[in-house]
Symmetry: C2
Amino acid sequence: MKHFAIVPGDGIGPEVVKVGTDCMEALCEISSFDFDGELFNIGGQRYLETGELLTDQDISDLKKKDAIYFGAIGDPRIKPGILEGGILLKMRAVFDQYINLRPVTSWFPYVPLKREVPFDIHFLRENTEDFYMGLGAKLRKDNGYRAEIGVKRESYDMGFDIKAEPSEDDEYSIEVGLLSRKGVTRFADYAFKYAQARGEDKVTLVDKANVITNNYGMQREIFQQKADEYGMKLDFMFVDAMSMAMIVRPETFGTVAVPNLFGDILTDLGAQLQGGLGMGGSGNINPHGLSMFEPIHGSAPDIAGQGKANPIAAVLAAEMLLDNQGFPEEGRMLHAAVRHCLDTMQVTPDLGGKLRTEEVGKAMVDFILNQ
Amino acid sequence: MKHFAIVPGDGIGPEVVKVGTDCMEALCEISSFDFDGELFNIGGQRYLETGELLTDQDISDLKKKDAIYFGAIGDPRIKPGILEGGILLKMRAVFDQYINLRPVTSWFPYVPLKREVPFDIHFLRENTEDFYMGLGAKLRKDNGYRAEIGVKRESYDMGFDIKAEPSEDDEYSIEVGLLSRKGVTRFADYAFKYAQARGEDKVTLVDKANVITNNYGMQREIFQQKADEYGMKLDFMFVDAMSMAMIVRPETFGTVAVPNLFGDILTDLGAQLQGGLGMGGSGNINPHGLSMFEPIHGSAPDIAGQGKANPIAAVLAAEMLLDNQGFPEEGRMLHAAVRHCLDTMQVTPDLGGKLRTEEVGKAMVDFILNQ
Ligand SMILES: CC(C)[C@H](C(=O)O)[C@@H](O)C(=O)O
Ligand SMILES: CC(C)[C@H](C(=O)O)[C@@H](O)C(=O)O
């Protein structure tokens, strides 16, 4: 019996998570897989009521679980950054989920960019470092153009003492991106292992080493060492070139390793190539600890509660969860259920269908129970 | 008589710049426009021979010109970052070309992503700040996990004293992104003026203010003030969402302001939407000083010297140059020449045509002379 934390969150989160959990419950009836799900009330609504984001209590409760199944957070009444930094990014950091797995698969022909050649890119986004550390400062007259900032992680403490001398009044804002050799090494190691397990002989590393030379120069060097260690190939792509290549030759990519910020952009672009955000599942993976699975879409408050949300991304996230928890066959059944709904056009309006969220869910559950 | 610096650079740079200058020479014969072009030998080849990138002598010679017409730099024999930082980014910084104008126009039907609705996005990329300052450091055992770095610009001096305390051996690499209130203010001002001049009532600002909260929070605030000042609308888009929106609804965007790094990515993506890098012209603009015009593509060493390079991007850059120098009608003739070549399929293989670079050039020159 697996114990999952279910965090529906805000907006369409609860609707799509419901479909995912219904599907997992259906699996329990026809397979040896079994789970219980404990609901966690974490998100914008609670924040507005109590001021709480991800509390210490949440963290210790979540730690008792085998995995987290997450909907979405986001509330238009709350300033950008608060929920993201205080809940989602904090979760990724606290549980050290350093791999963000985001497959981009052609579910042809349901894509805006029709291509005859099927593609199946597996993005591995580094999920704990880069420009996502929340490490920034403002320098202005009223603080004497000085700032002291720092970041504390399990294995280090880093401090910045910053001072500006302007020739006239101004204000400066800075934001620091950081990579550690350890962080990049474990990321690279995961990437080559992953590609190997998929029977590939190569990893593509995306960066902008011609401009952000320090961080991405070190990253290239570490990836090259790992490539040699594994006896595998390594391709470098600049992020700008990659955004183009994804459009004209997505079928030429397999396992793609990408640092945090660029991963955010490219995997959304990728989602669009496979039919929109409603098609993208995502796993925030700590290979030795607690992982979290979520659709890559947000809370979409504009369509919340209207039955318009496409639950496929959440179901694909559940597939990844099952795979991660040692139930790959059950995962494949969810994949087949998605395939079935697409083939029979039992889908939501974003994919050209006429069904409501829960109707798609019902079609999937029926499909699973009939296996 | 205008005086232009011509910097052909490396790879396909010379081939495409030749087409652009031939077209401008043709314009001289049929209009009041007149120019002389002085060739500058700057690029990878000279660097390999002399170790020189952009020298003080280059800078003072370039300063005497009315504008710079630039090809491309880049050489596979040189480590990523050296030519970029030492020539291209240095030029943008030294001449304070703080606006990078990159139109993304549908030249329907020559696009991989066919859309019935024409689009015409005008990206204004901030071109001197953000994560493009080359401000980074390494902290490791052999430097005692300490680094002192700094940046000096005309109006300020900024220093960083950084110290890490690791609990075990490691290595850290950091890279700093910086925005100044002055820098963002002049950028915002340009954007609203630009949109207004195009008869639009709105600017779209792209950022990632939900994660990089300091820099892009300040940027939002400044853009909002400018929007109020101009009595115009301001839309915010997260960069990940923008990469998707550009694919499904490019026609809904007009003037789009984007910080440096995201601008790099989105304008390449945009180039792809209009038929590839061979279609993208780019202006590095100092509204009160020396501007530089270049195709957005690089030196493409793999096809250099083979007559395969699409010269359209370079011709569109020349159009922007003429516009900037007070010859908008002559600029429009170059635009018409491009249109003519596309309509008659007198184009290079990347667009499905059969012509060589110089043949496309000849077709354009003939078209211009027959006006
Ligand atoms: C909500 C946001 C902080 C998040 C991110 O940028 O990582 C999201 O876009 C994602 O990709 O999961
Ligand atoms: C060559 C590189 C430094 C440059 C950039 O990143 O700005 C290029 O990609 C561009 O967009 O002009």
